[in-house]
Amino acid sequence: MATLTYLQAISAALRDELRADERVVVMGEDIGVFGGAFKVTDGFVAEFGTDRVMDTPLAESAIIGCAIGAAVVGMRPVCEMQFADFISCGFDQLVNVAGKMHYRQSLAVPITVRLPSGGGFSGGPFHSQNPEALFMHSPGIKVVAPSTAEDAKGLLHAAIHDPNPVCFMEHKHLYRRVKGEVPDGLFETPFTARVARPGSDLVVIAYGAMVEVALEATADLDGASVEVLDLRSLVPLDEEAILDSVARCSKVVILDEANMTCAAGAQVAALIAEKGFEDLDGPVIRVATPDVPIPFSPPLEQAVLPGVDRVKEACRDLLAY
């Protein structure tokens, strides 16, 4: 057990996997000699060599394509997209090749694609996005999004061990802000939701960086008992945990940092409407980033990203309903 930041937990998971399993390789832009844009792979080349820690051209399609080929012949590649936003260049390889390989040819594609995602640091429209819903929509790809250091390590181990392509959404805003006790070893965090704080009057459903926002916003909400459910995994979506929370609380606020339309929360809301209807005691409320690019301007960015105040307001409003 060690106290690690979210970023150190991801580094530790990669290092443990590289040490434990020779099939594991990591590849991406500037991840080798430079140690990665966020220093996740700092020092890896010295320990594991350039054959297992590969600097690639600036070509996301090539990174994912190579990883697919390597995976099909038995490797366990972990690709880093320098920013999650850049994955649009590798979309076809991931969605059409990796996602459908097993369906077409019964071949497993055990790749993990790491996506440093999210805003909050004035990165502007090309470095702040949350593209997870694009991959939720596409069959054959799992999508996970940890909110704590322990889950970052455990979900990354589970992603690398999983025989399917997995998008690992690691939130940049959490990298050095979130810190926690992390068990040693190759432990796996299951692809299920986690009750971050139990409650009974209302549940806020969130994942990634929005879990912190939800916890802060509802820590003391006029004495109301507010549950926070951390989804952790978006595909598969933990329907049982979601419906359990809805049955307990009957009022639901769903929080997304991604743009509102068709975000992960939209799927959660649809699930609740279909299977949790008889447990609802109010409208299902969504809080998300409006359908706009993320602005560079710090005040404008703060205005569009869901913050503590917006969540508080939404919760108070629904509690009073």
Partner: protein, 420 residues
């Protein structure tokens, strides 16, 4: 369970119907003291300037007080009435313990659920219940109409029905009818005879007619009204308007704006001796409301709009005017007005100036006439042209006839060179 209920008095205030509206007049009360009223149901009718509208009740409840008489004018925000909304008790609402006693989801649950597909049986008219409340009520055979809700607007929340199930409810059903509202000893006066057939035969004009009448009379008494006409060949407008899918009025509006920019003395207000030229052209467009009267919504900053933009705004304002959806600001701030009653074939009129403006343009029918046209070499011939007579009434206190004629000449030149 005889815990006391709290009665919450909710104010009904004179609404803000536009940024520049400061007061409104109560036209009629639709509910009297002691009447039960539903949220959003109209409680009274009010009027500001030319806009009449209805005020919805903010909550369901019983009208407890009416503080403003009919025809009384009060400022925005003034409390006009109070509604006693039914609330729950003021002590703890049992949130904490309710979830520890969820309704048993086991064995017996499916049966009542299956045989109770008609939740309406347990529902009071006008109240709606969330799925979880309806389900718990059906499972436990609870008459929801007997439960006082603690949610917004008296809504029955899950906590409220669970409190009844677990027996510690503040809104437990009892044999007697619960006091759904507090009866007031006061009764409203019998409604005035307004709106009855006798009232109309009595010569009573509608409020809008009275307002129009007062305004028109006041304008004629105030302004030194003159009217000047000019003949305009609308051939180019007629040729262009099909392509843009707008009416001739939109072209005349655009040309009027351009002419006002050339002759800004006409884009002005005259209040007594106080003459103000206005920078923006806020163009009023008279819209007939049939027998009810006439209203002049204003296209603010009309000079920023193209012909198509003006056409779209005119359509929008006319539609909203006829649907009685205009906001108070939509009829304020006009600097010049166009009236366009030519659809029935009339060719000339002497419009009355919309005070405190100094001019009003009248567009009548476009009629094909034989006219003398002169070609580039100076040869005259007779041609059939779509002609109209534009008339402008103007205030001789603010300007003289020469300027009015120059303005009309500019307007004519612009309309006859549309698209050139």
């Amino acid at each position: 369970m005889t815990s006391s209920r709290t009665e919450i008095l909710v104010d009904v205030t004179m609404p803000q119907m536009g940024v520049s509206v400061a007061e409104g007049t109560v036209l009629a009360w639709r509910a009297g003291v002691g009447d039960t009223i539903e949220a959003e149901q109209t409680i009274c009718e009010i009027s500001t300037d030319k806009i009449d509208t209805e005020v919805p009740a903010p909550v369901s409840g019983v009208v407890a007080e009416i503080l403003v008489d009919v025809d009384q004018t009060v400022s925005v925000g003034t409390v006009m009435a109070r509604i006693a909304a039914q609330g729950g008790p003021s002590d703890g609402d049992g949130d904490g313990d309710a979830p520890s006693q969820p309704p048993a989801p086991s064995a017996e649950a499916p049966a009542p659920r299956a045989e109770a597909p008609s939740p309406a049986r347990t529902h009071a008219p006008g109240r709606r219940y969330s799925p979880v409340v309806a389900r718990i009520a059906a499972e436990h055979d609870i008459d929801l109409s007997t439960i006082a809700g603690t949610g917004r607007g008296g809504r029955v929340r899950k906590q409220d029905v669970l409190a009844v199930v677990t027996g510690n409810g503040h809104g437990a059903p009892s044999g007697e009818d619960p006091p759904l509202h507090i009866e007031s000893p006061y009764r409203p006066d019998p409604p005035a005879a307004a709106g009855t057939a006798a009232g109309v035969a009595d010569g009573g004009l509608s409020r809008m007619r009275r307002t129009i009448g007062e305004r028109m009379k006041q304008s004629l008494e105030t302004a030194a009204t003159c009217t000047t006409w000019i003949e305009v060949d609308m051939g180019r407008v007629e040729a262009s308007r099909g392509a843009l899918k707008v009416t001739a009025l939109a072209f005349v509006a655009r040309a009027t704006i351009d002419a006002l920019r050339e002759h800004p003395a006409l884009n002005a207000w005259l209040n007594g001796d106080d003459y103000t030229r206005v920078e923006d052209v806020n163009l009023g467009i008279a819209v007939s409301l049939g027998e009810d009267g006439l209203i002049v919504p204003v296209i603010h900053r009309a000079h920023e709009l193209s012909v198509e933009g003006l056409g779209a705004r005119i359509r929008d304002l006319a539609r909203r005017a006829r649907a009685r959806e205009l906001a108070a600001d939509d009829v304020l701030g006009g600097t010049f007005t166009i009236t366009n009653p030519g659809q029935y074939g009339s060719i000339m009129a002497t419009p009355i100036i919309n005070q405190p403006q100094v001019g009003i343009l009248d567009l009548e029918a476009v009629v094909k006439r034989p006219v003398v046209v002169t070609d580039g070499d100076g040869n005259d011939s007779i041609a059939i042209r779509p002609m109209t007579i534009l008339g402008m009434s103007w205030d001789h206190r603010a300007l003289d006839g020469a300027l009015a004629a120059q303005f009309l000449a500019t307007l004519k030149r612009r309309l006859e060179t549309v698209g050139l």
